[in-house]
Amino acid sequence: MAPTTRNTVDRMDKPSSYAASKNKRRKYNRDGDDGDRYQRERTPEFEDKLRDATTLYVGNLSFYTTEEQVHELFSKCGEIKRLVMGLDRFKKTPCGFCFVEYYSHEDALDCMKYIGGTKLDERVIRTDLDEGFSEGRQYGRGKSGGQVRDEYRDEYDPGRGGYGRALAEDLEE
């Protein structure tokens, strides 16, 4: 009988459900319990891609947070090989996310465990294992150039350009 490999508490260094669903192209039952999602089997392809991942996607940054600030915090988990700021596709200004690449997988996992969900520039940031940066991914994919999440946000967020942009346009009309 194979011993169970489950830890007695969940692990924080697993890819998020977002990364998983994006790669799997399979919809989860959203009613499911968060904790259980991690235990379901994923396609081997996805697991393979992230098995040695050294890159993290970092989200919920303020538009005003600089590379230097990201560097100061994230280098606490290891030397940073490359840092790519996410930019507005049209304006080429920071739009609230970035990719941090470490030299080792270990450092990337530690970052998930120790830095994800803590604050940078007084905002709780989100980290996710990423298969690696490729040209083009530094740009926002939203209609107006930024991140999709900032298009229809109805909460006012001064760190991310106020109200959602599409929403703001709709309001103006």
Binding site: T8, K76, V124
Partner: protein, 815 residues
């Protein structure tokens, strides 16, 4: 605090106990949550689990899953070991097979852990067995402890600096309390016999321990004396004798819980006894994967006027600390779960162990606590444990930032209770800064700034206002300056200015608020202003190299006319200052310019060492108000080999040293420490490459050659630092003597500078010593000998791996 949304996770609501759940899940959930609630009666819970397990014992799958989980729980949540044992204790009453199975599982796992040298796992599994002492035939766990001691003796006689033996003795001393506390028939004579044997080992002090002290300076200045963990344990056990071996903090498990069967108490039966699991112990033991160092006991709250944590001579101090620290280090993959366990920590000990959670310190201080009751604050106990890791020398098990995050989570879970205790910790640390080991000061600094960045930068700066009048050289003032700098790095000048009190704001100068520092060549009065300004335009416009060279030639001619010997120095200053200025937009801008100018930058150092150091000088000068940026740039230039480690060290500790004032600057320390870390990491990587299995003779020779070269380099850097620091410590450097003689340095500051020299010395002597134990000839030889000799046929395949690893190493270095 409301902006922390628990990562978007919903808290699982606790449903009523009687809801329908499949048996395996019931068993899992009940075992995992045992004793979590302060309202629960763990003995009852344990018994319920035992009953449910017993009723389903015929189901192989249920049985398997349960025991897998049991072992996992022992290894991952040490707080719950006594409770896990209680399940077995009660299970044994009705179904002795439960015990048999538990012992088999634990025994197997223990054997594995022992073979692999996983000493913590050994400790925890043996603890579980010790809690079952009353179920064993004969002396139970005692013969195993005797064997462990024999192993320790073997190690000690083979090597007087051995630390693995100390680890074994630690396991013995941490096991005895559980065995004695839960024993049915007294094992006091056996325990005393063991304690007599451990005495010598526990009272030894290894030479390296001198370098592992948290506080330096003369003894009367130290807030706490050095206490070795095993020395302390030995003493605490001796003291426990006076308390009649009570071990009062262990959670009690009444032998029989009154069970009403048909209105009558259940029959009291004698438990079935079992043989202690047999273990194959081969000496000398496997030392384990990680180098071990003697452990010091660090506390911020112990032995003070108000007893908010056990006194250091009380066995409770070690038992609780050990469990807290293990929990933290084991569960690093879920800091949220760690914080929950820590906040609940008091539930896992005897109910009388701690005072109510969140009891204000002042109430305890003023004696408003019921006479004879415990005054130990669970929050203090927890924070003491976390800080003990941040302040572990040479290094704790996990990255320091992990412990930061545990403090943050704990604060988020119980802000009202934890924050005041944290404030007292900070005060204690700040009060004793002057004599604290410098590396630890730097960890305190990092934590402090990072912690505040998670809590709106709130701190009562007013408390430190009196230290503002001190000289910048004073450790306390230096700390304040550095703390504000670190806060700015995580945020920005204007923001931090708003969070500090008026009196402190002058420390955030105009320069610190500027995003783009001034470009000195924009000022006509700067020498070579015209050339510098032109150079800037040329680099920005990606002018051809010949044009840039032309401008540089002009500087060279002018400099030669002005009688400057090394004309490369002013031209390097101009070139590098321009790069910094153009690259001030962002770090990636800087990197792309450096990429473009790489050849020229590399050539500078190849032509002249002083010019190479000028690169550093120019970067630091440009970023003088934001030294963090300078440090990052220098770090990158080391990767490009534009700078060399020795150039950074020489710049910091010779060019920049002055009369020794530089040693008081936190950023100078950071720069040197970071550079040294880069070197030591590289040497460790080479050693790791050497220790791969199946290398060819050719590869071995090539790696050995690199290793010898790099190791010698490393030693020479340590030597340089030690010499430079020792000159400051002795007050024999020229600039120092001059400044003392002409009165520029008053007696107080002169003494402070000397102390800085000493503090630097201790840190880097320790680092040098630690590296020797990992990458020194002796250490490497010993580990090479342990490599299995491979069969010829396997070599081919392995060869490629070996190559890959070496390549990887070189690539990383160049990048």
């Amino acid at each position: 605090m409301s902006d922390y949304r628990r990562n978007g996770k919903r808290k699982r609501s606790r449903e009523p106990r009687d809801r329908y759940l499949p048996v395996p899940r019931q068993l899992r959930e009940n075992l995992l949550s045992i004793a979590d609630s302060p309202l629960a009666v763990p003995a009852k819970q344990a018994q319920e689990i035992a009953t449910l397990l017993g009723d389903n014992f015929h189901d192989e799958q249920i049985k398997n899953e349960f025991f897998d989980l049991l072992v996992r729980l022992i290894l991952e949540q040490p707080f719950k070991i006594p409770f896990a044992a209680a399940v077995i204790l009660y299970g044994n009453d009705s179904k002795p097979e439960i015990t048999t199975e538990a012992l088999n599982r634990a025994g197997e796992r223990l054997q594995e852990a022992f073979n692999a040298g996983h000493w913590r796992d050994v400790k925890l599994l043996v603890r579980f067995l010790a809690c079952l002492q009353r179920l064993f035939e004969g002396d139970g766990v005692i013969p195993l402890l005797d064997k462990l001691f024999d192993c320790a003796v073997d190690l000690q006689s083979a090597n007087e600096n051995d630390v693995v033996g100390l680890e074994l003795v630690k396991i013995i001393l941490l096991t005895l309390p559980y065995a004695m506390g839960y024993a049915e028939t007294s094992i006091v004579p056996q325990a005393l016999e063991l304690l007599e044997k451990t005495e010598i080992v526990a009272s030894m002090k290894l030479p390296i321990e001198e370098l592992l002290e948290s506080y330096t300076g003369s003894t009367d200045e130290k807030p706490v004396h050095y206490l070795s963990v095993i020395g302390l344990l030995q003493l605490q056990m001796r003291n426990e004798e006076a308390h009649g071996w009570e071990f009062a903090i262990l959670p009690p498990f009444p032998k029989f819980i009154s069970q009403q069967v048909d209105g009558q108490d259940a029959m009291v039966t004698t438990p079935t006894l079992h043989p202690f699991p047999s273990l194959d112990i081969v000496s000398p033991v496997n030392a384990g994967p990680n180098p071990l160092f003697p452990e010091a006991y660090f506390s911020l709250y112990a032995d003070q006027e108000v007893e908010t944590v056990p006194k250091t001579d009380d066995i409770a101090a070690s038992l609780i600390r050990d469990t807290i620290v293990d929990t933290i280090n084991i569960l690093d993959f879920n800091r949220d779960a760690v914080a929950t366990l820590l906040v609940n920590m008091d539930s896992y000990w005897h109910p009388e162990t701690f005072i109510k959670r969140g009891m204000p310190f002042d109430k305890i201080r003023l004696g408003e606590v019921e006479e004879g009751k415990s005054t130990w604050k669970p929050e203090d106990m927890v924070l003491d444990g976390i800080f003990s890791q941040i302040f572990t020398l040479p290094n704790p098990e996990r990255k320091i930032v992990y412990y930061h995050s545990v403090i943050t989570e704990t604060c988020k879970k119980a802000p009202g209770a934890v924050a005041p205790s944290l404030g007292r910790a900070i005060r204690f640390l700040f009060r004793n800064l002057d004599v604290m080991d410098l590396e630890l000061v730097s960890r305190f600094l990092d934590w402090f700034a990072h912690h505040l960045s998670n809590f709106d930068y709130r701190w009562k700066w007013q408390e430190w206002v009196e230290d503002l009048v001190r000289s910048d050289l004073h450790p306390k003032k230096a700390f304040i300056i550095a703390a504000i700098d670190k806060e700015i790095r995580l945020s920005f000048g204007k923001r931090i200015k708003k969070t500090i009190d008026e009196e402190f704001r002058y420390l955030i100068t105009e320069g610190k608020e500027k995003e783009v520092p001034d470009f000195k060549y924009a000022d006509d009065r700067t020498p070579y202003a015209a050339e510098g300004a032109l150079l800037q335009v040329q680099i920005r416009k990606k002018a051809p190299d010949a044009e840039i060279q032309e401008t540089i030639n002009v500087i060279h001619v002018k400099a030669a006319d002005a009688g400057i010997k090394d004309v490369l120095i002013p031209s390097t200053d101009a070139f590098v200052t321009c790069i910094c200025f153009i690259g001030s937009v962002s770090f990636s801008h800087l990197i792309s310019i450096v990429d473009r100018c790489k050849e020229r930058l590399l050539a500078i150092g190849q032509q002249s060492e002083p010019a190479r150091r000028q690169i550093i000088a120019s970067i630091v000068a440009y970023w003088k108000d934001q030294p963090g940026n300078a440090i990052n740039i220098i770090d990158k230039l080391l990767n490009y080999t534009i700078l060399t480690p020795i150039s950074v060290i020489q710049w910091a500790l010779a060019d920049h040293l002055g009369a020794g004032e530089a040693l008081a600057e936190s950023w100078t320390y950071e720069m040197v420490a970071k550079t040294v870390a880069k070197v030591t990491n590289r040497v460790r990587q080479i050693v790791a490459a050497r220790l791969q299995e199946g290398l060819t003779q050719e590869q071995i020779e090539s790696i050995d050659e690199t290793l010898i070269k790099e190791r010698e380099g490393m030693r020479s850097y340590f030597k340089f630092i030690d010499d430079a620091a020792s000159v400051v410590a002795l007050g024999t450097n020229d600039a120092y003597i001059e400044k003392v003689t002409n009165g520029e340095l008053n007696a107080e500051n002169a003494a402070v500078i000397k102390a800085w020299g000493k503090r630097w010395q201790v840190v880097f002597q320790r680092k040098a010593h630690v590296e020797e134990t990992v990458v020194g000839e002796q250490a490497v030889d010993a580990r090479v000998k342990l490599l299995p000799t491979k069969m010829e046929t396997d070599l081919k395949e392995e060869t490629q791996n070996g190559n890959g690893a070496m390549e990887g190493l070189t690539i990383e270095e160049i990048e």
